[in-house]
Amino acid sequence: MSKEKIQIEVNGKMVTLEVEPDDLLVDVLRGDLGLTGTKVGCRAGECGSCSIILNGKVVTSCLIPAMKADGGKITTIEGLEKDGKLHPLQKAFVEKGAIQCGFCTPGMLLSAKNLLDQNPDPTLEEVKIAISGVLCRCTGYQKIIHAIHVASETIRKQGV
């Protein structure tokens, strides 16, 4: 099978890649780019572990052929920190104990970031809907919701 060239912006950096027509974005991010913060869970769009932000929207990268993402702008969990400093969401997750095994954490954080980017002061219901696409099997939703509210307050006061 012949490889095809695609160009994507990942965490602010342009990268050119050669991919197979049937490569999925999640595998290209993890395999070709080594961005293993994006997790692989169900590969059916149901667990949300592979969530990334593509062109401003949180999506499951296991359902996206790499070639479909050509020309797109992607944020993965590795793109959240800035100059070695954690994003307020990451800080709040650490401080409020919103992480247990950590497998769902990248998807939770990117879902939360996508929410706060559009809605800096969300209600409880809006936070619940925003993270409803990511499964946590350590049953840590309460602390995750709390951490997102803490981070939203920090961002509103101090910025990102």
Binding site: K57, V59, L63, P65, S111, I129, G133
Partner: protein, 306 residues
């Protein structure tokens, strides 16, 4: 361990070619040339899992996400029109849909998860032909129609003729393409509502979805018409036409509403399912949900936000 489970994921799905046409004619040509081995991909939220499960094995994917003019929701010539690339998120957030077809906004906002709603398209949801699909049921109640194009031309198919069997529609997806779904927007004294029963609020297939469209004659305390769509209670999305008839042009009373709900339960045909519950249970909830839908619809007609 479940023997059917494949734990080595990488390359467990396969296709040979991935095309990204720039125009509808180019997309149709690619479909035609692939001789039945091609599939269109837009959101991919149904197609990719189907390929992984080997329910579909296309050799060629035709990605239509680069086609222009298909990602709009617009009001034109008395119809609300949605192009093939309109996502569930777009529909859920559209002020036009919320104002003139609230049931569709409600259906789209409950489908899957934010991730799935951001990727998946309404047209894809409909073309997949599932009898309880979250946007199909409200569109059936809204009297929608589908525009299908191929190299042989264009045809418009009403929703009532579009669904043939579970997972099968009047569209040959290897040669034809749905470019648009349209429906008449609701006017004054009309309302719509969607209700959904599922095990949880996200990423759960519906046990039952219901959409009701009511057109009121307020003076006579009657409905000019009522449309009741249900799923999955039959191999295809279902209109409870017996119940609709009972509600049309008569004085609306408690008794009539209850009678119509019972009629809907009688005429629908749910099957016992491990995921969705027993036939008896599901028939009982058809009656409950239809009654609740009509009552809430009436409250909306009275200007209440329910």
């Amino acid at each position: 361990m479940n023997q059917g489970m494949n734990l080595v994921w990488s390359k467990s799905l396969h296709w040979e070619k991935y095309y990204r046409p720039q125009s509808i004619p180019e997309a149709l040509k690619l479909l035609e040339e692939s001789g039945g081995h091609a599939r269109i991909i837009a959101g991919g939220t149904d197609l990719i899992p189907q390929i992984r499960n080997k329910e579909k094995e296309p050799k060629v994917l035709v990605d239509i996400t680069r086609l222009s003019g298909l990602n709009e929701i617009k009001l034109e010539n008395g119809f609300i029109k949605m192009g093939a690339l309109v996502t569930h998120s777009q529909v859920a957030e559209s002020p036009l849909i919320r104002e003139r077809a609230l049931a569709l906004s409600e259906g789209a906002s409950r489908l899957g998860s934010p991730q799935i709603r951001n990727l998946g398209t309404v047209v894809g949801n409909v073309v997949s032909g599932q009898p309880g699909a979250d946007t199909t049921i409200p569109l059936l109640a809204l009297d929608a129609r589908v525009k299908v194009v191929s190299q042989r031309g264009e045809r418009i198919i009403p929703f009532t003729e579009f669904f043939i069997d579970t997972g099968k529609t009047a569209v040959n997806s290897t040669r034809e393409m749905v470019t648009e779904i349209s429906f008449p927007p609701l006017i004054e004294n009309e309302t719509s509502i969607s209700l959904r029963l599922a095990r949880r609020k996200a990423l759960a297939l519906p046990i039952l979805t219901l959409s009701v469209v009511l057109s009121a004659d307020l003076e006579k305390k009657a409905f000019r018409y009522a449309r009741i769509a249900l799923g999955p209670v039959a191999p295809v999305p279902f209109r409870a036409q017996g119940a609709e008839k009972l509600l049309t042009s008569v004085l609306i009373t408690d008794g009539i509403i209850k009678e119509a709900a019972q009629k809907a339960a009688q005429e629908s045909n749910p099957r016992t399912s491990l995921i969705r519950g027993s036939e008896e249970y599901r028939r009982a909830i058809v009656a409950n949900l239809v009654e609740r839908g009509i009552r809430k619809g009436i409250e909306r007609l009275e200007g209440k936000h329910v």
